[in-house]
């Protein structure tokens, strides 16, 4: 056997093995990808419009966008003031109230109603901060949806939204 023979054989084996591995990887992709949201789910995640007109001052409503609860809070003067007059630096997740509402629409707080701890839905108008209280493990959020107390690590998230008019928003 000449010395060239083994190397040619090795090359063949490596080439075959590599092509086989590429094939296996290509086959894996559809099997993985099929678990992602399907086209109808993505289409159903389209933006929604919410009319703010009927929401009374002090009322919190819940709407669903992408199967997630969205809290829309029509804040009272007292709640707005509390949210603003907090020493931001002392908060677990420091964020001024102005970063959590749209400019000129201080009375409207729109947050994703999912506790940032482990995903339960906090209850409105409960807890010590005029905000939300999560019954699962006791996290408390203030009237700006910021975490104040309990195991949750972050403030309630803000969904993408915009004011179409003073009384209408589009979420998504």
């Amino acid at each position: 056997m000449s010395s060239a023979e083994p190397s040619r054989r090795d090359f063949l084996y490596i080439a075959t093995g590599t092509v086989g591995a590429v094939g296996a990887a290509a086959v894996a992709w559809p099997l993985i990808s099929q678990m992602n949201p399907d086209a109808s789910t993505i289409a159903a995640g389209a933006p929604i419009d919410v009319d703010l007109g009927p929401i009374a001052e002090g009322q919190v409503i819940k709407v669903f966008w992408r199967s997630k609860p969205i809290f829309i809070s029509h804040r009272t003067k007292k709640e707005i003031d509390e949210a603003k007059n907090v020493n931001v630096a002392s908060l677990p997740d420091p964020q001024p109230d102005s970063a959590r509402v749209k400019e000129g629409h201080d009375q409207w707080l729109v947050v994703i109603g999912i506790c940032t701890h482990l995903g339960c839905i906090p209850l409105a108008h409960q807890g010590n901060y005029d905000g939300w209280f999560c019954p699962c493990h006791g996290s408390q959020y203030d009237s700006s949806g910021r975490i104040r107390q309990g195991p949750a690590p972050a403030n309630l998230y803000i969904p993408p939204y915009a004011f179409l008019s003073d009384t209408k928003i589009r979420i998504g």
Binding site: L12, Y13, T16, G20, V22, S33, Q34, D38, A39, P54
Partner: protein, 694 residues
């Protein structure tokens, strides 16, 4: 599985582990060191292919279950949802549905291999019987699985098959009611079938383990039928058998991929794209091809109970084969008489299969009876007798001594093809003529379609025109419920822009609600909405009232749900020519097929004469007229043109991922051919020293 392992781990951890659970040693002795006869031909690779296919079916099946809903109201829709919306859903479903057929192709080759080489003979009787059990389980699993899409064939196939048990004297009806969980096939039936369809493959996997175990105890047979005498006669399983099996697996995958990507519905039935309807039985109930020989046996016996018994016996008789065969010589290579009768038997099975697919009329029934009788005669009379009267050729002393040329396998394959083709070809042309007379409707003429063939693509302009025809004409009565407006702007479709799709959607009124007051309301359609149902009828009862007892079918899958009989030999050639356009051709023909009723034909009230419609009387009045739809792209708006355009649109509607399917199919084919080539040379290199010494 064959005694204590010779495997000696070097690594300290593996030593520790092996002392506690010798699983690596088990695998090593079963699939690496295991001695395999060195003269195995390619027919012996189908065991490996079968294990591979079982794996494919289990994996794709588990994935399908993630998207399937086993409920009579949702099963059909959930399958369509899978095909349209889930990423690669069409691919996974076609892999699974065609995989079942490929599984049976492989099992039949494997079984006939066993019959030819006497693989069932002492000491492999238990191995063989376990195989028969696996085969029975496969039949049950395949049947249960075919029920799940809940189309017309699912429903009526399930009805017919479960009614086998009603043939049992006295308790038959009770048993059937118990199987159904009701007084007819219904939701309880579907749910239990689903549960069992998920269970059985794992039972199969368990019996496969036993089968392989029994194989490794008795050792593999080989084409000479002479047991290996020394290590001269064998080679280690790995790499020799591994690489050979893998090569054939890749070759098998080429066939598999051909069906999946190019003719994915060829092996199914158009009727199964019609949602199950307990009130209407399809014209011809035909089971999946792999049951056809047994179905022919069932129908050939004019007595219900006897028919069912004959059908089950035709499979169970295989269990007794090791004792029915009196010859001590295993391989047909050394049995000149048996070899002839083996091929006659193969031809008889193919013949029964063909007859099982035909309407049970006239000469077909007689032919089926003759072949059924022959089937049993082969086992009960010919097989025992041959062993007594045949003079076998002298057996070689050992495998190494045998000079069995590899051309043997090729010759056998050729013989199989030629045998099958000549049998089918010899079906008297008188049959064909008789059939022509039975046919009341002419064959729809073939059209040329841009989307036909391996590289076919939809003509976007044509789809847009076709959509216009649908919207302005068909949509009054026919729904399109599996399509959403967003689909119109998706790749591989009519090529509308997002904005155009939104504008089209806004043209339709969609029911929504309830609103805050609890009322349903109408609003303009949005891209995410499905096409709304037709406005002219609110429910099926009303439709029947309006359209002389018929319900205008939903058009989403219509192009796949209609077909016509292709006849021999076209139905075989279609596999190679990838002819898939029976449905669209039929739709075009139907649109143009309105004529005054011929003398002597009494048209029922509310009927219109159409020469292509199965009963010739269709409730739908001629829908198209020249110039009816105003084409804006300068195409002349003739009936012919409108019919073709709407048919093309429906072809896309039925298979919105067709372009992706063909594109990916081409990539897969190129890959598989290259891989098969590499595997072939690897196999040659690995086996070089063995062949050198032989």
């Amino acid at each position: 599985m064959s005694g204590p392992s010779s495997y000696q781990p070097q690594n300290a951890f593996l030593k520790w582990f092996e002392a506690r659970l010798p699983i690596i040693g088990l695998v090593h002795s079963s699939f690496v060191a295991y001695p395999t006869p060195k003269n195995l031909n390619y027919w012996w690779t189908f065991g490996g292919i079968l294990s591979f296919m079982l794996g494919v079916q289990i994996i794709t099946g588990i994935v399908l279950v993630m998207h399937y809903t086993p409920h009579v109201d949702m099963a059909f829709d959930s399958v369509e949802h899978l095909m349209r919306d889930v990423n690669y859903g069409w691919l996974l479903r076609y892999l699974h549905s065609n995989g079942a057929s490929m599984f049976f192709v492989a099992v039949y080759i494997h079984m006939f291999r066993g019959l030819y080489y006497g693989s069932y003979k002492e000491p492999r009787e238990v191995l063989w019987i376990l195989g028969v059990i696996i085969y029975l389980l496969m039949m049950a699993t395949g049947f249960l699985g075919y029920t799940l899409p809940w189309g017309q064939m699912s429903f009526w196939g399930a009805t017919v098959i479960t009614n086998f048990f009603s043939a049992i004297p006295i308790v038959g009806e009770t048993v059937v009611t118990w199987l159904w969980g009701g007084y007819a096939i219904g939701n309880p039936t579907l749910q239990r079938f689903f549960s069992l369809h998920y269970l059985l493959p794992f039972v199969i996997a368990g019996v496969v383990v036993l089968h392989v175990w029994a194989l490794h105890v008795a050792g593999q047979g080989n084409p000479t039928g002479v047991e290996p005498k020394s290590s001269q006669d064998t080679v280690p399983f790995t790499p020799y058998a591994t690489v050979k099996d893998s090569f054939m697996m890749v070759v098998f995958c080429i066939v598999f991929a051909w069906f999946v990507f190019y003719v994915p519905n060829y092996l199914g039935h158009a009727d199964n794209y019609i949602p199950a309807n307990p009130g209407v039985t399809p014209m011809h109930i035909v089971p999946e091809w792999y049951y056809l020989p047994f179905y022919a046996i069932l129908r050939s016996i004019p007595d219900k109970l006897a028919g069912v018994i004959a059908m089950f016996s035709s499979i169970l008789i295989l269990v007794f084969l090791p004792w029915l065969d009196t010859s001590k010589v295993r391989s047909a290579s050394y049995r000149p008489l048996y070899r002839v009768f083996f091929w006659i038997f193969v031809a008889a099975c193919l013949g029964l299969g063909y007859l099982g697919s035909q309407a049970p009329e006239g000469i077909y029934v007689i032919a089926a009876r003759i072949l059924t009788a022959y089937y049993f005669i082969h086992f009960i009379i010919i097989t025992p007798l041959l062993g007594l009267i045949e003079t076998p050729k002298p057996l070689p002393n050992s495998i190494s001594e045998s000079v069995l040329k590899r051309s043997g396998a090729v010759a056998a394959l050729l013989a199989l093809l030629v045998g099958g083709a000549t049998f089918l070809g010899s079906t008297p042309s008188a049959l064909a003529q008789e059939k022509q007379e039975i046919h009341e409707t002419p064959i729809p003429p073939r059209n040329t379609w841009s989307f036909a063939g391996p590289f076919g693509k939809f003509d976007q302009q044509q789809l847009q025109r076709g959509f216009k025809v649908y919207k302005e004409v068909c949509s009054t009565c026919h729904g399109l419920k599996f399509l959403s407006f967003r689909n119109l702007a998706e790749a591989g479709g009519p090529g509308f822009t997002e904005a155009q799709a939104a504008a089209i959607a806004a043209d339709f009124k969609v029911q929504d609600g309830p609103n805050d007051q609890g009322d349903m309301f109408e609003r303009d359609g949005r891209v995410g909405d499905a096409f709304p149902p037709p406005t002219t009828w609110k429910n099926e009862a009303q439709a029947r009232q309006l359209y002389s007892g018929t319900v205008p079918p939903d058009m989403s899958v219509l192009a796949k749900a209609r077909t016509y009989e292709r006849g021999f030999p076209w139905f075989l050639l279609d596999i190679f020519t990838q002819f898939q356009e029976e449905g669209v051709d039929y739709i075009v023909a139907l649109m143009k097929g309105y004529e005054p009723a011929p003398a002597g034909f009494t048209l029922p009230a509310g009927g219109n004469y159409n020469k292509y419609f199965p009963s010739n009387s269709i409730a739908m009045p001629p829908p198209l007229t020249d110039g009816l739809v105003d084409y804006t792209d300068g195409t002349k708006s003739t009936i012919e043109q409108q019919a073709k355009d709407v048919a093309a649109f429906l072809a896309w509607a039925a298979e919105p991922h067709m372009e992706a399917r063909k594109r990916i199919g081409f990539q897969v084919m190129v890959f598989l051919v290259i891989f098969a080539g590499l595997m072939y040379f690897t196999k040659k290199k690995v086996w070089a020293d063995v062949h050198g010494h032989a």
